[in-house]
Symmetry: C2
Subunit: 350 residues, 2 copies
């Protein structure tokens, strides 16, 4: 069968790692007799450079017509320290999430046995940890009204959530919990925020439809602590946009490397797959970036297309590379392979 | 000399731990020839029970007249899972911070040599870590407009910051950095939030007055990861209210126990001292709560009154108790002392 895949390499190390994921997809196509038609699209700093727009119309178009989107990374330091820049790379990603309605971001986190000693956490704390973070992705303070007073003295951001926005992702998270260890933790700040109280109320009501799932609540400050003290307590975590951003990056330390964390951003019609790591400008072009998160994003993409055997094979290849130490410098500092050599190994194995 | 100290025991384990801090203050008074006049005041769930108001007028009054305020903890589970409760314990604390203008929350975090093996983090990651977190405490989304639509379907929280609010705490943080290792890290989300961009702009401008301090910036998601990957990189962290809440609780894992983290909340006229741990309802009344964070808060209080020798002595007593293993169950599970026995040891040592 043929699938249309939109590829957005993006900025920094995005293009390098995405190229390796594409190798893996090509190997899958060969091996399992599929055909993937790739269409490249611009987004982020590179899109600003070429078109002045972080998200050209054409990119949205290509994405809408695709069966799935593979995305690299976004961001460039020249915008980060320029608080008055009118156009910024991140706007591209945020607008894409919004225009495609990618409301549900899924970030699986597990401690890879081969990487446990890589983690700053003790083995006994993380060994066996395995969670899935459901982050709301098209609401909250990311998309609220922003305002800067005319004299530049006062800034504000609005944070809004509706029951409907909360419900649709809550149902997905409960379903995931049903398929896993049947525990769902809502992370919020209901002792302070009105939006968090709406989350708590809405999710509590939905819990009645999923009686076999145990629901509990954690304030986000406590969750940030519990994530490190005892990550094994978590099965599925559900949370709003900003808390999800923070908590999931924090959780990356459990896996032993952020270079391994993949994510899916799913909407009603479209789905985008991307590594959690950012554009990592310092590493760009040096062949040292870890491509596994992007390759594992491709595995999530395959699963989304219902190509489960194919996804299993990709994941197996990743595990094998870790076992053999065929890894980039972040994981194997003594005897590192380059980004593209790791990609070659994965493709060969597939 | 005589000092007026307002004591707000609060909820949960608040009263138990505050009682131990008071013992320490009494011992200091005896030993160094001071006199402390304590006035107790109500706040939180206990205040709601007695007066219907989480922050009775009288409490504000007592605090305003005091030289310093010692506070325990706030919160009760019966309010947490009731999103529609009109009155909540936390409102007491938030209103007190606001009415006394306690805009600068300081949370020192260091790895106590004696507790390092208690931490979920590896020894080499945390040994030597020593930072001070400056959290803005009277602005941001905590105090923005909150709204719930009439049909209960849509909730919102506003987040606002002015340059003035940012400047006053930024100056304090830069001064602290000057007295320490001369590094200041601003934690924000300037790639998404307008308020964060105002923080970045304001703090960058102020940096010109403190040329010997190195200023850098971290996005909050990355900061949550860096805090665990390499906490030793931090000296002074400056951040807004909500990010400070999350990051400082997370940072507590470095110390090996949240039971040791004290904090100061300072305004122009008043100052309040409190442990970072919450009301910990499950432990209430069992004599197992760790009183050290409250005792160390008393040490910060003494320092605020310029009683530095006295503060040193209290801190010495705490170190000694850790050395000897005269600790509560969280730190010494094999041979624990009760809350009040630890308090007695500290007072005796002083
Ligand atoms: C690049 C940035 C806008 C983005 C976010 O905050 O959502 C990133 O951190 C992420 O988590 O995907
Ligand atoms: C109790 C709560 C409102 C409070 C806060 O969020 O500020 C607490 O977590 C703290 O950090 O002092």
């Amino acid at each position: 069968m043929n699938y249309n895949i939109a590829i957005i390499p993006g900025d920094g190390i995005g293009p390098e790692v995405t190229a390796q994921a594409k190798k893996a997809l090509d190997a899958v196509a060969d091996e399992f007799g599929h055909s993937f038609t790739y269409t490249n699209a611009l987004m982020g700093a590179c899109a600003i450079d070429e078109t002045g727009n972080p998200l050209p119309e054409e990119t949205v178009d290509i994405c809408e017509k695709s069966d799935a989107i593979l995305f690299g990374a976004i961001g460039h330091p020249k915008y980060d320290n320029d608080p008055s820049a009118k156009v910024r790379p991140e706007q591209g990603l945020l607008r894409l999430r919004k225009s495609l309605g990618l409301f549900c971001n899924v970030r699986p986190v597990k401690a890879y046995e081969q990487l446990i000693d890589n983690s700053p956490l003790k083995r006994e704390i993380i060994s066996g940890a395995d969670m899935s973070i459901y982050r709301e992705l098209t609401g909250g303070i990311y998309f609220g009204d922003k305002h800067l007073s005319d004299d530049g003295q006062v800034a504000s951001d609005g944070c809004t959530y509706s029951m409907e926005e909360i419900s649709r992702i809550a149902h997905l998270a409960f379903k995931e919990a049903q398929n896993r260890r049947k525990k769902l933790t809502l992370v919020d700040k209901a002792n302070v925020l009105e939006t968090s109280r709406l989350w708590r109320k809405t999710v509590s009501a939905i819990a009645n439809d999923y009686k076999e799932v145990e629901l509990d609540f954690l304030f986000v400050d406590n969750a940030a602590m519990q994530m490190i003290l005892n990550p094994k307590q978590f099965d599925v975590i559900l949370t709003e946009n900003l808390f999800g951003d923070i908590i999931s990056d924090e959780a990356s330390v459990i896996g032993g490397s952020i270079g391994l964390l993949a994510s899916a951003s799913v909407g009603k019609e479209n789905a985008l797959f991307e590594p959690i790591h950012g554009s990592f400008p310092q590493a760009t072009g040096k062949g040292i970036a870890n491509p596994l998160a992007s390759i594992l994003s491709a595995a999530m993409l395959l699963r989304h297309l219902n190509l489960n055997k194919e996804a299993d094979r990709v994941e197996e290849a990743v595990e094998k590379s870790l076992e053999l130490g065929f890894s980039t410098v972040d994981i194997n500092p003594k005897n590192p392979l380059s980004t593209s050599k790791v990609g070659d190994f994965i493709a060969d194995y597939i």
